[in-house]
Amino acid sequence: MKKRWLPLLLCLALLLSVVSAASAGAKPYDGQTLTVLFMSSVYADAARSLADEFKEATGATLEVVDYPYITLHDKALLDLTSGTGSYDVIDVACQWDGEFAPYLEDLGPYIEKDQFDTEAFIDNVFNQAGKWQGVIMGIPNANTPQVVAYRTDLIPEGLPATWDEYCALLEKLNDPANGVYGLATPGVREQYGGIWDSILWSLGGAWADEDWNIVIDSPEARKALEISKRQIACADPAVLSWGLEEAIAAFLDGRAAVCDAWPTLGITKKGNDPEQSKIVGKWTLGTFPYEKNGITNLSAWDVAINAASAKKDLGWEFIKMYTSPENQQRFYEEFYIFSPRKAFWEQDSMKAPEFVTLRTALDTALMWWRIAASVEADTAIGTNVNAFLAGQIDADTAVANMKQGLEQALKMNPVEPGVKNFNR
């Protein structure tokens, strides 16, 4: 009896060891959890969709934490400066690159080791999202220039190339009596600043010059305020308290002719879904007026590894997966996230006129300051523009306050020597 069981047991043991060896080999990070931080909405959703693939490839569980834009910065910084390492991987908005860089891992060695192709990304985007002072601390994974969504049935000829014409168009289409406004915009102070910046820059204005001298007190700034005022007059009075959601909802509901609320965060996904949109097939994307230089605001995100993380290698696996060409393609198809990979834009499906405009804009689009002072600076701009539009202060006060705010931001967050202002 014993003689018959023994070979059976031996076979079983052999089988088990082979199986366990195979599975151990295929899942090096078995049992671990990787925590990643993304902005709520499509970016976090895209990350979540990777959970299964990630587990298959590495054996580790993916935990996605998300926060809305306004609190995302504070939460990320809280973790980074406390060295807690709660988040292993963070999706950094490029304007925070400078502030977060000291706490993020230099990805150079990883790129070397895996021969990661860094040339595959659009240069202008990579320079502003992921590269900081010669070090690569993040890989760009999402980008969009500030674009506008507009109604093709109301504006069949496309958007004009100067701000004057653009405002006149909005005024013409503004018809509150029939429930349609010219413009739907996120007027809340944390969001509108970015839109105002696009106006300012395309007029040739800037916050500061290359050496960080504040130049915002300029005729361009005053003109930009005027233009904003004209536009807001063509929008729902409640617009000054609207965030992205409200503005997008208004546009999808057919209550506005033009919407400049980062359309890729909602309109592209829901616009042609009859369940969620009343304007199916009647809208498209366009850019802001070219005016002097066509410079518009760039929104770009780069995924980076927390220097205090205990799972850096695993984090790098995640980064490779999130930014891989296949997944970036899928993210576009499912979540409408535009990829910063050059190859993505060269496909036939991206040759339609509106996409070509986007691609061109990506070569010149700018983010505002990327140093630590950017948060205070952005708030100074946003708050004062918002106060001006609400009628609390006049244009001169607004500009003076913005100047003071920017100077204060720089004073409290001094720029490291040798860092030039390549942004605006």
Binding site: S82, T84, S86
Partner: protein
Amino acid sequence: MSLKRKYDFTSPHGILSNFAGRPVKVALIVLSMTVVLFPLYWLVTNALKLERDYLAYPPVLIPKEITFESFVELFEKNAFASSLATTLIITAVTTLLCVAIGSTAAYTLARGPIGRKAKNIFGVWFLVQKMYPAIVTAIPVFIVMRALRLIDTRFSLIIMNTSFNLPMIIWLMMGFFEQLPISLEESGMLDGAGFYKRFFYLILPITKPGLISAAILTFVATWNEFLFSVILSIKRTKTLPVIIAGFITDRGLDWGPMAAASVLMLVPVVLLTFFLQKDFVQGLAMGAVKG
């Protein structure tokens, strides 16, 4: 003559309520009840409405169909269960801690054989502590917690919540202890009972209502605490108020789950204050009387 007036003079309170005439009294009661009840009604119905109903305009005043999907969504998409557990643990431990060390400190200040001057100093110190807003200690606490690597732990939140509520509890319990007749303790002393014995066997059993009030007030305050929860939490210790605030800043139009979360958050405290209403009110009143 005057006794024949229509005022209900058998109850002096009937006099008080008619202080400006009957119509004013009725108006006040009706108005105040409406202003309080309608929003609560709105909250509960929104938690139970279908998605198309809570996003509808004109708003659906009386929903024809109700559903629990908002509640389900909370648990599936928002890790509500873990947040609930975390908040419960933090609140329970804080309450126990506060009542334990608060009531003992209060007894000493009320009846302890320590000098008058000492009592005054401590009393005033605790009073002043009660006064300033949490924000003034927020940054130093953050720095220290960061250095001690206690960010995002339940421990840090328990510590801070206890710290906020202690001064109030101490003053509250002092009020209750001072109300007790001195003869009680004197007889205890005569019987040879020491300080501890007197406290645990004589005083405590009678001041149970006081302890209950203290416990309820601490529970409610900690359950609703937001500022430090937002500062000291990253992902593991997101309490319920933090989750609710998270709804507003991002998913601005998800009224259903937002309402559901608020309703679930209200349920424990409403039950608590409903069943222990007398103690709760007594606690509030005592807190005001003692100032």
